[in-house]
Amino acid sequence: MPLLEVTNLRTSFHTRHGIVRAVNDVSFSLEKGDTLGIVGESGSGKSVTCYSLMRLIPQPPGRIEGGTAIFDGVDLLKASPEQLSKIRGKRISMIFQDPMTSLNPYMRISEQLIEPLLIHEKISRDEALKRAMAMLAEVGVPDAAKRIRSYPHEFSGGMRQRVMIAMALITKPELLIADEPTTALDVTVQAQILDLVKKMQRELGMAVIWITHDLGVVAGFCKRVQVMYAGRIAEHAATDELFAKTAHPYTRALQKSIPALQPKGAALYTIAGMPPDLSRNIEGCPFVPRCEFAQEQCKQPVALKDITPGHATACLRVQKNEITL
């Protein structure tokens, strides 16, 4: 049985300009200890997918319209607040994009680090502090015993993200959701944070969902990837396969957009056009207006379908074997 099984998740936002279907019929599953990358550009619904799982979508305007997310027998989308608080921070933890604002500025690092322990485990303050200190050293904060008494504003961005990771992992969760945790950090620190999460994953044997818009990160870190576009899954595959046997024009376009893979001096590749307006109902493939392979038939509804076991695409023409990318 998979650790997490999401089926037909649909989340929308009811705004003044209409209903924005941010996540539209997304299904995926995750085994224990697995690493799944979710890739897509801004507004593709990758964060909303995970926020929906944690029930962190502000309601209203957001609404989880349907679907299930079974985590160890519990449907996260319908769990009671009591059930949720037992799972959040204990069995599923999350790290956020911006470490500068994710820590409470008025609390010492130590207080924030022991908070999940105090609410989730029967443990004394001293014991919790000891574990917090060990954890802080573990995530590579030098001089942890002293730094633990600092306040967030005395830490750099990279150090704060380490604190956030320590906070998320201190309860030894079974699943870690990382929402672009390296986006706000500079490149050298990004690599350190990636290595750190990898190391912690090995030690704790937890599953990781890594949300990113950086295919490079995915390549080095994730076992499987799903590419999202306009609130839907465009392609889902094992990482090697995604790069070797790309099966969706959008994935191919994303790969071409990586600057390092292009000849020096050439104009940078960009995907022409803009992502579609999600407040309008899109019948067929949402990538049609920007796709170089689009035909009239692409405007009819299309479902995600396996082309080889474990490799699914939502491109009709690839499914019909009409094009190879």
């Binding site: 944690m54 962190l56 607040p81 949720l84 608080s85 037992k86 799972i87 959040r88 921070g89 204990k90 933890s93 999350m94 956020f96 994009q97 911006d98 604002t101 994710s102 820590l103 409470n104 500025p105 008025y106 609390m107 010492r108 908070e115 999940p116 609410i119 989730h120 590579g140 030098p142 001089d143 002293k146 730094r147 008494r149 600092s150 306040y151 504003h153 005395e154 956030m164 906070m167 998320a168």
Partner: protein
């Protein structure tokens, strides 16, 4: 992890300080504001002297000496005596006790009720927020003076009732301010992080919301004190507040007003104490605002 670090570098790593909280930083800034410090010291000293006067010379404020009558300030009575021959210094200090404690008590009430009420309303939001805020609106719309007069007439003129009447209305502003702060605060990522860690509403409000609004609360609290003292003086001036022979600055000023032409010191000295205290508290409040809210201050 850092095992490859060259050994030549001797890092003075042992000297990391335990860390300055934002409160400590604010305290440091406050101390550099001379006006605020002077104001704070003045109020503290005055409160101390007022309090001591009760223990050193209990009852002096009510001791009449009809033979003496009203006398101008002299060596025996530094600030003179009133028409009934009572020592003005003793009466002013007693009045200070009452005025300051009314200010303090009402502020305490407004802080405790207002902060909790506002934080809950703002954080929970939705229908509860609407109901809670309409209740505030309703109390707001009651004509305050008539409300207080009604309470005092129905339940009798007791000083505790005066405290309660003032306290009952002074938390409204605080609740609104805290609510607005909390509403903007709850959109911050650290609150999202706290929810993701499995914290319940109660704990988030108490541990994450309230400490973050305390800066604003402290500023507003110091500014409530003088306004409440003014209110008490106003009520006493109308004869609704403290009753003789007890004195408050409001009643003293009212008494002095009646005999301003013959015995001006009866008006001047209580007014002087009152205004100096109000000035000091306002300076302190301004200083606190500059110290706690760095973005709003001029430098």
């Amino acid at each position: 992890m850092m095992s490859t670090e060259p050994p030549i570098i001797t890092t003075p790593s042992a000297e990391i300080e335990p860390g300055h909280s934002l409160w400590q930083d604010a305290w440091h800034r406050l101390r550099q504001n001379k006006l605020a410090v002077a104001g704070g010291i003045f109020v503290a000293l005055l409160a101390l002297v007022c309090l001591l006067s009760i223990f050193i010379a209990p009852g002096t404020y009510a001791k009449t000496n009809l033979a003496l009558g009203a006398t101008a300030p002299s060596a025996a009575h530094w600030l003179g005596t009133d028409i009934l021959g009572r020592d003005m210094l003793a009466r002013i200090l007693m009045g200070g006790c009452i005025s300051l404690s009314v200010g303090l008590a009402a502020t305490l009430v407004s802080v405790v009720i207002g902060v909790l009420y506002g934080a809950i309303s703002g954080y929970v939001g939705g229908r509860l927020d609407v109901i809670m805020m309409r209740i505030v609106d309703i109390i707001y719309s009651l004509p305050f003076v008539i409300f207080v007069i009604l309470i005092l007439v129905v339940f009798g003129k007791h000083i505790v009732l005066l405290f309660m009447a003032i306290g009952a209305v002074s938390w409204l502003d605080m609740a609104r301010i805290v609510r607005a702060q909390v509403m903007s605060l709850k959109k911050q990522e650290f609150v999202e992080a706290a929810v993701a860690l499995g914290l319940r509403k109660r704990r988030i409000i108490l541990r994450h919301m309230i400490p973050n609004v305390l800066g604003i609360v402290a500023i507003y609290g110091t500014l409530i004190v003088p306004s409440v003292m003014l209110l008490e003086a106003f009520l006493s001036f109308l004869g609704l507040g403290v009753q003789a022979p007890m004195s408050s600055w409001g009643t003293l000023i009212n008494d002095g007003r009646k005999s301003i032409e013959e015995y001006s010191w009866l008006l001047i000295y209580p007014s002087l104490f009152f205004s100096l205290t109000l000035f000091s508290l306002n300076f302190l409040g301004d200083g606190l605002r500059d110290a706690l809210d760095v973005r709003a201050s001029k430098d």
